[in-house]
Amino acid sequence: MMNDLETTAHKLCQASRKDYVNPYSDLEWPDTVNIHNWFMSPELISLYGTEHYDRLSEADRKKLSFYEAINFFSLNIHGEKSLIEGLAQRLYRRDVGPISSYLHHFLDEENKHMVYFGGFCARYAGKVYPDRKLSFPREYQSGEEDFLFFARVLVFEEIVDVYNVQMSLDERLVPLARQINLMHHRDEARHLVFGRKIVKELFEHYSPRWPGATLQAIREYLINYIMGAWKEYYNPDVYRDAGLVDPYRVREESFNHPRCRSHRQKITRACLRYLTENGILDKEPAL
């Protein structure tokens, strides 16, 4: 693969070794948590700014924040499961060989993330919210599958990282929730550097060979993927557990609420700018 990417991967390997985390010893787990605390920054709660949120008491908002955190950790687990699967498939593949040393760290770090995300969900909620995504096999143009894999990973991690950074700094949150967000951000910062580099290089390398219809379909797919990634943040299971009536209606109304649209646009701004500045998208979509 490309030299620039290899140099980046080499530097990231050194950084990963220096910032090596032990998810079993670096976190202290209380036996129980009081769910009448903030586990998610209120402004990041999916219903924030809607009538459904405004109607809740302070105690109910905090309870909702607990289940929103369970959902945030759950969707991370599901994202990381498919990421690990995709990385493992590419490890030591002939054309990926030179960056395999970094893929080892990537895999290792994603597995550790699932240890603490899963640990939190299992200990305090007794469950991980199920994944509603399915994928079906299809044919790809040359390089398209690799490009889409790393582009999906990048989009997913870009959104998550904005949440991580904000919550790692939010002193209203219980310390354990803050610490999990901080630990995740420390690793994700490296993954994002790698992701931005490899997505750009794969696109520049392969896209000139793709027929116009393929490029158009890839752009549509990416926009739909970004929307799909956001839809996972609006989970009726969360609303049901938090005691809200008619969770499917709450989801529908909140997802389409102007404040929620503007929130998605704001959180995704840097990611969309990266995609358009590099020609991957031809215009920023309205989310």
Partner: protein, 92 residues
């Protein structure tokens, strides 16, 4: 409680509303909506949530059998008919 005809109509309308790749005339109960990419994998989450609103019950995605979303018949049988054996036989 919705009748079978109402549920089938609701499913059919959902597919037509969410895909611009097929006309109402061409969409049959046995049209292969995944294979023909009328509905993509990215739309499955929306479809699952729509089915949940019809059944008023969360779906255990992990327990779904391959082929559940193949066409409107398999979706109806998979989520509303309650006959697993029949569904498996049709999909094999």
């Amino acid at each position: 409680m919705k009748t079978e005809a109402e549920i089938r109509l609701a499913l059919r309308q959902w597919v037509l509303k969410n895909s611009n790749k097929i006309s109402a005339e061409d969409l049959g109960d046995d049209t292969a909506i995944i294979e023909q990419r009328i509905i993509t994998s990215l739309q499955i989450m929306d479809l699952i949530l729509f089915i949940e609103t019809l059944t008023n019950c969360p779906i255990e995605v992990d327990s779904l059998k391959p082929g559940t979303f193949r066409n409107l018949n398999t979706i109806y049988k998979g989520f509303f008919h309650g006959d697993d054996d029949d569904r498996s036989a049709k999909e094999s």
